[in-house]
């Protein structure tokens, strides 16, 4: 299933699963960039806020010599039938037609969490607690991203703050507003092994235009028709099949993430 409905001037992220070492630098860089607060003492892996979340997936008995892999899971920025957009009762989620980025307006969100139920990738996070930083640490917040408050949903937006800054600087240099600008989300910048690549297929930054067509490229749950803008790469067949549910998964599989 390689139906690419993504306009080449819209952003895509390509994550090389074979290069991910599960170090978590992307998760930390993302939280710092987007002013996500440290965990409340009672938070768990099911109540935390991790726009980027790396999970470890075991092959069960299918692995071809590779027993497990790490999959970083940001919002998949679905291009078609974006599940969270249609369900929101008050238009707090919108898709930017130019960039393709699915944007959550936390200021308008009432926290009904219907979008979270709708998202098959579990990429959305609810603020179960008020965000709290240790005393003084709020001075180190990124001025380009507004902090959210308790009771609203938030998620990865391909570092929208960085996009805005890049767009502003491109405008200063006289670039037309319809041209895609080059920028890089925090996770891609932080990745020690350069497993995360980002850009538009049209400009082919970091080779993303070629990578999305490579034979090892795949996307999560393609049959749902959501056309994610996040692609993964792996040379391991079991990883590709598992992600696309092409084969019945064995029950010996477990996950930590």
């Amino acid at each position: 299933m390689k139906s690419i409905e993504i306009s080449p001037s819209q952003y895509v992220m390509v994550i090389d699963a074979d290069r991910c070492t599960g170090c978590g630098a992307c998760m930390v860089a993302c939280a710092i960039e987007n002013n996500v607060a440290p965990a409340h003492p009672d938070a768990t892996d099911r109540t935390g806020v991790t726009w980027m979340k790396v999970v470890k997936v075991s092959s069960g008995n299918n692995g071809d010599g590779k027993p497990a892999c790490y999959l970083p899971l940001p919002c998949q920025q679905c291009a078609a039938e974006t599940p969270c957009v249609t369900v929101c009762p008050q238009n707090a989620v919108e898709v930017d037609q130019q960039t393709g980025i699915v944007f959550q307006m936390s200021q308008r969100c009432l926290g009904c969490r219907y979008c979270m139920a709708a998202c098959p990738y579990h990429a959305r996070y609810f603020n179960w607690w008020d965000p709290e930083w240790p005393e003084g640490m709020e001075q180190t917040l990124n001025p380009d991203v507004a902090p959210r408050m308790r009771g609203v949903v938030e998620k990865c937006n391909f570092c929208h703050g960085r996009y805005q800054a890049a767009r502003a600087s491109a405008a200063e240099h006289g670039q037309a507003s319809s041209d895609p600008v080059t920028y890089e989300p925090a996770c891609a910048q932080a990745c020690p092994t350069r497993a995360i690549k980002f850009g538009t297929p049209a400009n082919n930054e970091q080779g993303v235009g070629d990578l999305v067509h490579s034979s090892s490229a795949f996307r999560l749950l393609p049959r749902l028709g959501t056309e994610p803008r996040v692609y993964y790469l792996s040379k391991h067949k079991w990883i590709r099949q598992m992600a696309q549910m092409e084969k019945e998964t064995s029950t010996g599989e477990e996950v930590h993430g």
Binding site: T21, C23, I32, T44, A68, Q107, L141, E254
Partner: protein, 727 residues
Amino acid sequence: MSSALSRRNILKLAGGSALGFLLSPMPWKMLDDISIWTQNWSWIPKLRRGPVTHKYTSCTLCPNACRVNARMISETPVSLWGAPDPCVGHSYLCSVGLAGHHLAYHPSRVRNAHRFTATENGISSEQLSVEDAIAHIAKILHNIHVRPEEGEFALFDCRPHGMVSDIQQIFLSHVLGARYIVPDHHEGRFMRALMEMTEDPGQSYGLDFSRTRTLLSFGVSLFEGWGISPLVVEQFRSRREEFNIIQIDHHQSSSSIVADTHIAIKPGTEMALALGLAHVIVGERLYDPASAARAVDLKRNKPFSFMDLTRRFPPGRVASVTGIPEDVIVRTAREFASNRPATAIADDFAPAELIHSVWILNHLVGATGKNGSVVQKRPLPQPWKGAHRTPPTRLRNVPDHSLRLLMIDASAADTTVSWPDLRRKMRAENATIVLCSPYRPKRGESVDYLIPIHAPYETVRANPSGEYVATSAFQISTPLWSKSEEGCETWQILQRVVSASGAMTKEEFAQLEPEELLRLQCDAIFNSKRGTIHHPNNDETIPLGSVLSSGDFYATLMEGAAWSDDGVATSTNGRLFLMGKSTSSAQRFAESVLAFDNAGIDSNPSFPLLVVPVGEDVAARFGHVSPILSKIYQESDLKPRSRFAYLHHETARRFKLAAEQRVIIHSPHGATEAIVRCDSSVRPDTVQLSVSQLDAISPTRPRIINSYGGRVYTDQPIFVRIERARS
């Protein structure tokens, strides 16, 4: 005006008011206000505005000295990123380093000196000025001077590294009988073990993986944690296809997942595998002839010689000891010896005999002294060449109950100190522990005085490169905050204590500021006339010779530039000592191998499961890292958790246990509780436990933790049995 007020009038008034109200701005303003309120609660922090600038510095959290590009808003860092580092080649920061600028605001940060006294209700603390605290400590030191029989004075350096450790040793040499204590294991131990096996003393070595084709890792955290990791990541990133990684690991670590081959091994039998590989390499004559010629031991076969020891580890036997199939052992040996350059590495915290065996493998395949493997390097030029220094003592060699006054330098973020061990070295009565740290003592650390020191990035710090890099390098970690808070460095506190006690005699050390210290180091490097300077601002490299003065050199380093030494053309022909240079070390190695050979590791039928110890979230939760690391250690399930016992499905079935069941784990030494989790990556007949669970069931302390890499070593294997907990 006497018309009666009819009901109709009232209704009209009410209706009109309602309509008027709707048409007035009030309700709409209210709606608007509500939406603004809900977006701007007073407790949501306000964002700082101001011009964006960038500042280059370097990270002091671990000895790797990664270079940092700090994004600053109004003179305050808002994020840290890796900057290009020509010395190592990489330009990234690890997850801990990315949040390094948070450490000044760590919740357990202290700004004042404290005195702690034990009371009936626990420990009470009292604030005092740093001057008073130093005066108190100097008085104790003076008493020790007068009455040496009351016990010794010592400084415990959690991370002996570079010139700061150097100057501490110089200060201590002014105090009669003072000790300079270092941890039993610390960074660079693996590299330093090589000195015992090569001819010229005082020679330093580094690792150069730029041409390495096979990397054989004995349980090293290759992709996270500190030490070798940046060197490996750089090769993995830039030449993934030619860089073949074989990871020998007792559990499914992130390194073993990412490696090309993971060889699962029974914990505690790694040395047997290394000697087994050596057996195959020697038996099949796969070794490097030139290197073998340097290692004359290879020809002899007398008792306790290298040949005698490896003879005892044929693949068949090693297979049964390690649980690795015989053909895998043979295949691995062949791959390692033929796909050269090849390098084998072990952890700094691994048992000494394992480190020794791993070096034997390197010698056999000719890795030592070759480009693309283990290279010689010149040490960093040092100031005060002739100064008298107190020699280091390992913690385990300090006599028990001998210390009256102990100062601890905890400026390194991750320390591997075992607190009970430290306590045991103190006199039973009247002993004083002084902690020099930016943070409150952790749970279980009983100190008498706490003197605050600078957190990372609050002051200038000398930042020499780590032990592993191929060439020496030097940078300055410049402060990110222009107005530094109160506080000073441990060596300055030591200096003041020693001066106040009347012991300091040399004028030149009596009033030394951090900047002066750095200038001295810069002078020493400048005078060597070696090396190059890399400036991250324009990514340019210039020879040191083109810099006019030492002052210019210092100023350039303060801007975030790095100095690195010229590479040394290596191909050493000196002798190699497979068993160790001194008779005593050869004997120690032979004895531990033979002891293993005789006893092996055997399970007791009543304790059938072998414990695989792993690190977990405890370090991140209680260690001094940014609270944002909760994303990894608390808000995701990426790392093994401390309250779980991980078992293979079949093991669980055999012992009639189910996932999420509460169990008690018994060892001959105690018991602990856990919750069962099934994981197909865990070897049958083993149980994977995290280090915090080992306290109750392990016979010995300390367990050495490389917390960020998830590495734990126990002195001896632990066998347990698991029973269901009664609810």
